[in-house]
Amino acid sequence: MEILTIRAPWYLAGPAIGLLIVLLLWLTNKPLGAMGGYIELDDWVTRRRGDVGWRTIFMVGVIGGGFLSALAAGSRPTLGYGSFDQLFGATVAVRALILVGAGALMGVGGRLAGGCTSGHGLCGTSFGSPASVLCTATFMGTAIGCTFAITWILGLPQ
């Protein structure tokens, strides 16, 4: 099982995620997505729904799956966040604020668009939904442009 300790190549992980979309549709007739889990959690906390939604349970599963992947790779909990730490400011507080702000943008944007990289980007596009194709092209283009812009503004080598 040495393959589980190293990074999965795209040609294994990609088709596996595709099969997972097929499996979920076959079992439940529902599309795969991540945003719904957060929306249902918010609705539950603010008493707009009476119980925990299945999409929130799905996201709890994603946390568990992440944990298992770290266990398989033998990686440990960390305060570091790769080159983000060097890119964005000296203090932990500044970095935390940027992440909260970035998360809020994804929350507003994903809610407005009705989906995220998983829901629109992977699932909706494979279903052939025109809105998903447009939305995916938009956030992909924006994210690429924004990342180049950040790198340029911060004066870092490309």
Partner: protein, 153 residues
Amino acid sequence: MTLKMIGLTCGIAFGFLLGWARLTDYDVIRDMLLLRHADVFLLMMSAMLTAAIGVRLLRALNVRSVLDHAPIAWTTQSPRRQHVIGGVVFGIGWSLAGTCPGPVAAQLGRGQIAAVFTIIGLLSGILIHDVLRSRGAITSRRAAGEPVAVAGL
């Protein structure tokens, strides 16, 4: 099997795959967005292609879903302005955080403390959207799953 049990199981599989492919690493996403490496694009495209073929096979074979015994079906949406505006706002957030709503949960499971802040932001952003909409500042349709058009390619 209940919907929640299936959700939990599929969630675990999804989280494991995201972590295993290291889509939880800031630099993997950054290198993708700087067009340095093609592997994440290839991963996404192969996932899309596999799912696109798989779900159409299910439908062509008249398979019924396990849970509700209904014929396999899905809805598609017509493009609207909110998909573009939402996509731009989402894209900026994705670029800054180097992660998105799926992988950030797997980050949390992997013990990456940074994920806590991104998730707090995500949950707040959804609430901000809902407050703005209830005050009439945003006039989008309510939720992801609500079909605008029912079709299917």
